[in-house]
Amino acid sequence: MYPKDYRYTKEHEWVRVEGDTATIGITEFAQKQLGDVVYVELPAVGKALEVHQTIGVVESVKAVSDVYSPLSGEVIAVNEDLNNSPETLNQDPHGKGWIIRLRLKNSADWEALMTVGDYERFLEGLAS
């Protein structure tokens, strides 16, 4: 269910790192909690983000939720497809439903994030 090579946050964001580029999205758990996503507010490309700064907003038919940046860096791409098909976020949250790509500023940020094992245990804790 949750990709092994990703890292995770308590706010249910995921991160995939390739070289100095990080791709960020929200997890399967998050999309299920939100329900049908109707709108994703994306940041401007070029924006500098600090750890835990708001990236944007995911809006579903029943809730609105901020998405926080798990890492610091500069936004180098946003998933424009979400403008016309926000439902991608429900259908493929860990893949085509990615939200932004960052150029990493500090690779140590990564180490502070949860591994897949940590995250799954965290989710079990929420369920119990």
């Binding site: 709108y39 507010e41 907003v57 809006e59 809730a63 609105v64 901020d66």
Partner: protein
């Protein structure tokens, strides 16, 4: 709902339930030092007869409604067809509130939807909200919205924007890291385009102009829009006299990104300052940052047409402190009246209304400006208001008019020191030729 007030027994039970011994204990969080420790100084109670007599006496102090008035300046006297009060007073409609259980109030939602549609048609924009409190707060909301969209710290405001609107905007922005700069007017009474070109820069979120402006002059919106958009700022157009939209080019067609205005002219009486009706519209692409309630059309599970409040995720009850505005209601009953007014007049009726205003105002302007010692102050095109300058000052004329049962135009000195000998006159379809001739006749007598 029962309107029988609480019995002593009810009070005791309620206090026991929350765990306090007297109602005073509920105020324990208010510091001793600021509590009022004596009775309020109120007059003794009155019987119903006495109360009626009291208010009738007060009411007789109102001369305005009986007198001939040439005041405008943001509050306009227009004829209100009887159908407006008749229909809006029906029990099914008579609620000042936005519906809080929206989907059970299909009739109210349909009215709001129709109202929004009409505002879109008048302003030439794609999206309108369910209404706001008044023109001034609508302008402030438009400014805040522009800043959310652009994220730049500067707002340029025309000095010919209604002075009270400017004050309200400043109040809204007082504790925000935004600065407001004003632009003067030129000899025609229009926004000075050179000042605009000098002041606008990459820090500017929005340029706010009123048309017809507070000096009565219709702005050249196309020309202003061009400059505003060269700098990727948003163009906010303010309409304080909604009747002008019956004949002037819709601001949206002239490049406005957001239109904010006052809808009092659309079927609402002049009642000691309110209630009025703020309207607001914008381009569709800005809808996520748009404040206020929005009614939308939809289909129910049987495929029948129905209405809902939509895009509520912008609003305070869902977004909390990140909402686009703290507005979570609308001026529902005033918007209902405006809707009935607009639907009763129709497009042709609105055009006729606006046409009559122009014709009568221009007849008055020509009659008055022909008098020796009286001068038309600004050369720009006007709708139903115009500024006159009086060689020997305005106060003598104003007093003489008052003594003869006429309320003259608004003295502009308190708002614009440079216009101390000037007054803003308003003439609408409610004025007859005789009324205007009487006004001009008295002015001739005073200046002679």
């Amino acid at each position: 709902m029962s309107y029988i007030s609480l019995s002593e027994q009810d009070k005791k039970e309620m206090l026991a339930r929350v765990g306090v011994s007297s109602p005073d204990d509920l105020f324990c969080c208010i510091p001793e030092g600021i509590r009022l420790k004596k009775e309020l100084r109120l007059p003794p109670p009155l019987t119903e007869t006495e109360l009626l007599r009291h208010f009738e006496t007060l009411g007789r102090k109102n001369k305005e409604s009986a007198q001939l008035s040439f005041l405008g300046a943001g509050a306009y006297r227009h004829h209100i067809p009887y159908i407006v009060d008749y229909l809006s007073s029906r029990g099914e409609f008579i609620s000042p509130y936005t519906p809080y259980q929206p989907e059970v109030s299909q009739g109210t939602l349909q009215v709001i939807f129709e109202y929004q549609t009409l505002i879109c048609q008048l302003t030439g924009l794609e999206i309108a909200n369910a209404s706001l409190y008044d023109g001034a707060s609508a302008v402030a909301e438009a400014v805040l919205m522009a800043e959310r969209l652009k994220g730049r710290p500067k707002i340029l405001v025309a000095g010919s924007l209604h002075p009270q609107y400017r004050e309200v905007v400043r109040t809204y922005l007082r504790n925000l890291p935004l600065r407001v700069e004003e632009m003067g007017y030129d000899a025609k009474g229009q926004v000075d385009i050179e000042t605009l070109k000098q002041k606008i820069d990459g820090d500017t979120s929005a340029v706010v102009c009123q048309s017809p402006n507070f000096l009565g002059v219709v702005e050249n919106l196309d020309r202003l829009s061009e400059v505003v958009h060269q700098h990727q700022a948003l163009f906010v157009v303010v309409v304080a006299e909604a009747a002008s939209l019956g004949i002037l080019q819709p601001p949206g067609a002239a490049g406005a990104d957001i239109v904010a205005g006052e809808g009092q002219s659309l079927g609402l009486p002049l009642s000691f300052g309110g209630p009025s009706l703020g309207f607001m519209a914008c381009r569709k692409e800005y809808i996520r940052q748009f404040p206020g309630r929005i009614a939308g059309e939809t289909k129910d599970i049987e495929g029948k047409r129905g209405f809902v409040l939509t895009l509520s995720t912008r609003e305070q009850h869902i977004r909390r402190e990140k909402a686009t505005s703290n507005i979570c209601t609308n001026q529902a009953w005033c918007a209902l009246k405006a809707t009935i007014f607009l639907e009763a007049l129709g497009q042709d009726g609105m055009h006729e209304l606006a046409y009559q205003n122009i014709q009568k105002a221009h007849y008055a302007l020509e009659s008055l400006a022909a008098i020796r010692g009286v001068r038309r102050k600004f050369g720009g095109p006007v709708f139903n208001e115009f500024v006159l300058e009086f060689e020997s000052g305005y106060s003598k004329i104003q007093n003489r008019l008052l003594a003869n049962g006429i309320i003259g135009g608004l003295a502009l000195g308190p708002y614009y020191p440079a216009l101390k000998d000037c007054a803003l006159f308003c003439v609408t379809e409610t004025h007859s030729k005789d009324d205007i001739d009487r006004l001009a006749g008295l002015v001739v007598e005073v200046v002679r």
